[in-house]
């Protein structure tokens, strides 16, 4: 599923469900479990119902007023809104960093294997 229609269309997936929500909400809005469940139900229906290459729009609206889309397109005036691409782990909070298990058995380090291979 996707909330970036042009990017998803560009990679030409076998099938997709499109949710027309702002980026960062691919599966719904926060703390709205009823709506999240209906979004999942509609997204999974695409597995059974879509044709090859079809991108199915899901019947949900972020708000009746679509001005948020104009704001996203106009956001460029603010320049680069992305955070610097730090090369060290970026914890949500310092508390997470304090309790981290550095051996991280549930982490999959593909880049470390790759370093040896290349």
């Amino acid at each position: 599923m996707s909330s970036a229609l042009s990017i998803t269309a560009s990679v030409n997936p076998p099938r997709a469900a499109f949710l027309d929500f702002p980026l960062g909400h691919t599966a719904g809005r926060p703390n709205e479990l009823d709506e999240q469940t209906e979004i999942m139900r509609a997204a999974l229906a695409v597995f059974a119902e879509s044709e090859r290459g079809e991108i199915t729009p899901l019947p949900f609206e972020w708000s009746a007023d679509h001005s948020w889309k104009a704001q996203v397109m106009a956001g460029d005036a603010e320049g680069d809104d992305r955070v610097e691409r730090f090369a060290s782990p970026q914890y949500q909070s310092a508390a997470d960093e304090a309790i981290v298990d550095a051996s991280c058995p549930s982490c999959i380090w593909l880049d470390r294997e790759q370093d040896g291979a290349e």
Partner: protein, 163 residues
Amino acid sequence: MSSLPPVDHIQRTRDQYASLGYPPYAWVKEHTQPPFVALKKPLRECRLGLVSSGGVYKAGQVAFHYKDDISLRVIDRATPASELRATHFAYDLTDARRDPNVVLPFAGLKRLVDEGALGELANNAYTFMGGIYSARKVREHIAPELVQRFVRDEVDVVLLVPV
């Protein structure tokens, strides 16, 4: 402004890069006929695999970094939302941190399992930080690893939740 078409994020990024004086971003464009496998049984009998690129990790795991981090995290489906975190350099994390289900939809999927609409959710979901500027690394490292794991997990379908 009652109705507008979907935001064209490719055009938006093109405009943003031009205004910053960056060379244009090279989007992946795939023109070949995509592979397509029809669902072999009803969803109520399927085991679903889940993968999200929203930068979700579990408290206690090493967090993602922002410079082409191609590592994955294994997230047990039983992990309470209160132990899930989100980190990413290129989207507004406010709502994902308020409720990680907006990028890793465990709660909605579990409801569908409870009501019998979906067979089951695989024990493990896989997450990564999708701000990776090398499509080659994704194709050659992340994709095959995920395929291998989903085969091992014996899933019938996989839901990709890119962010």
